[in-house]
Symmetry: C2
Subunit: 225 residues, 2 copies
């Protein structure tokens, strides 16, 4: 599903160069749930952005669904991303002028497809936000926005789901709902990568990748405990 091959990412130039990622290798198979953990600033969000084809690596390659992103033009990269990848951003990134439901339907519309309304209604019910569909993002609480952002990433059943701290704004009961949904999606064959600081979320994954200063510091099978 997803391969990160010797990827580095640097920002700035000269004295002010910041190395966010430094030679990261990672293979993510379909039907798996992988947690990525690490200190604040260690490169987790940068890794997700590159894996989603949202930013170009400074060195190395990202292979999404068998297609290398290096050398693709913008239109081809956007089409690949729309077909293959769903992203839950750390800062939600809902479109302020659209309703919550329109935000969830947007990926389908952008891919030129009809939204799967039954699936979306089921997801919103599982996430506990039924009834808030016609609100705009600023009329929702932080946790409610996060749950619509999760629904948006999952609605199209993309082959790869990249979620950046998807339970950060949620209470523990709601967080467990989200964990159940992610585990279910992985069992259905999707490749799910979850950046998290929450040990309860990491415990649901079958693998925990540790990032520190832009490098992989550990890659452990999560215990069955």
């Amino acid at each position: 599903a997803l391969a990160i091959r010797d990827v580095s990412k640097r920002y700035g130039t000269g004295d002010a160069t910041v190395t966010a990622l430094d030679g990261v290798d990672l293979e993510i198979a379909p039907g798996t749930l992988t947690a990525v953990m690490g200190p604040s600033g260690s490169g987790k969000s940068t890794l997700l952005h590159l894996a989603a084809g949202l930013d170009a690596p400074t060195a190395g390659d990202v292979v999404i669904g068998g297609t290398s992103v290096v050398g693709l033009d913008d239109d081809a990269l956007t089409a690949l991303r729309r077909e293959q990848v769903g992203v839950v951003f750390q800062s939600f990134n809902l479109v302020p002028s659209l309703t919550a439901l329109e935000n969830v339907e947007l990926p389908a519309l952008l891919a030129g497809r009809a939204p799967d309304r039954a699936r979306i209604a089921e997801l919103l019910a599982d996430l506990g936000v039924t009834g808030l569909e016609s609100r705009r993002p600023h009329e929702l609480s932080g946790g409610q926005q996060q749950r619509f952002a999760i629904a948006r990433a999952l609605a199209q059943r993309p082959a790869i789901v990249l979620a950046d701290e998807p339970t950060g704004a949620l209470d523990s009961v709601t967080s467990i709902e989200v964990q159940e949904i992610l585990v279910r999606q992985a069992a259905a064959g999707q490749a799910i990568v979850v950046v998290t600081h929450d040990p309860a979320v990491a415990a649901r994954a079958e693998r925990i990748v540790l990032l520190r200063d832009g490098r992989i510091d550990g890659d452990l099978p999560a215990t069955d405990a």
Copy 2:
């Protein structure tokens, strides 16, 4: 320091009225650390916004440092807030066009005072973000932005600090640093209110207020455990 008197907050009108808070009473004394917990959508952020004088209650009164906000004109309310209150927003709300350090200095500049540079340098060191001062918010990770937002709320040593999930984007080590800082500020006499989903943060507070569907559902002394 802060009194919330029978406060309700309703959004919308007619059929579409949403009651975010429904008759909340709360007294916060100087030199205390109070945690506010509750499910997503229960009214925590709304409570903080009203307590900070950032929004008007639909009913009831908010008394900040002995001054009632009801009936104050905008200029007087802004002056009161600048003198008495520091806020850490759930979505950080850093000013994108300013550097991280300028964001921290902004409350002092808006209050017509010189920023306390030694205090700010000490806070940034405690928070582990020394060296990132000249970055703009979009050049920082989520957790780094959150730590600058915390420094901004604390820099002026305001009588009241209202923090909305200040450790939501932080790893557990960094979160403990923030907890230490908040405990220290309360011991120094400030009134600190922290909205949190993290039991480790709540455990540092001397009191835990539980919110459910816009009402206070419990008000417990945190155990000394």
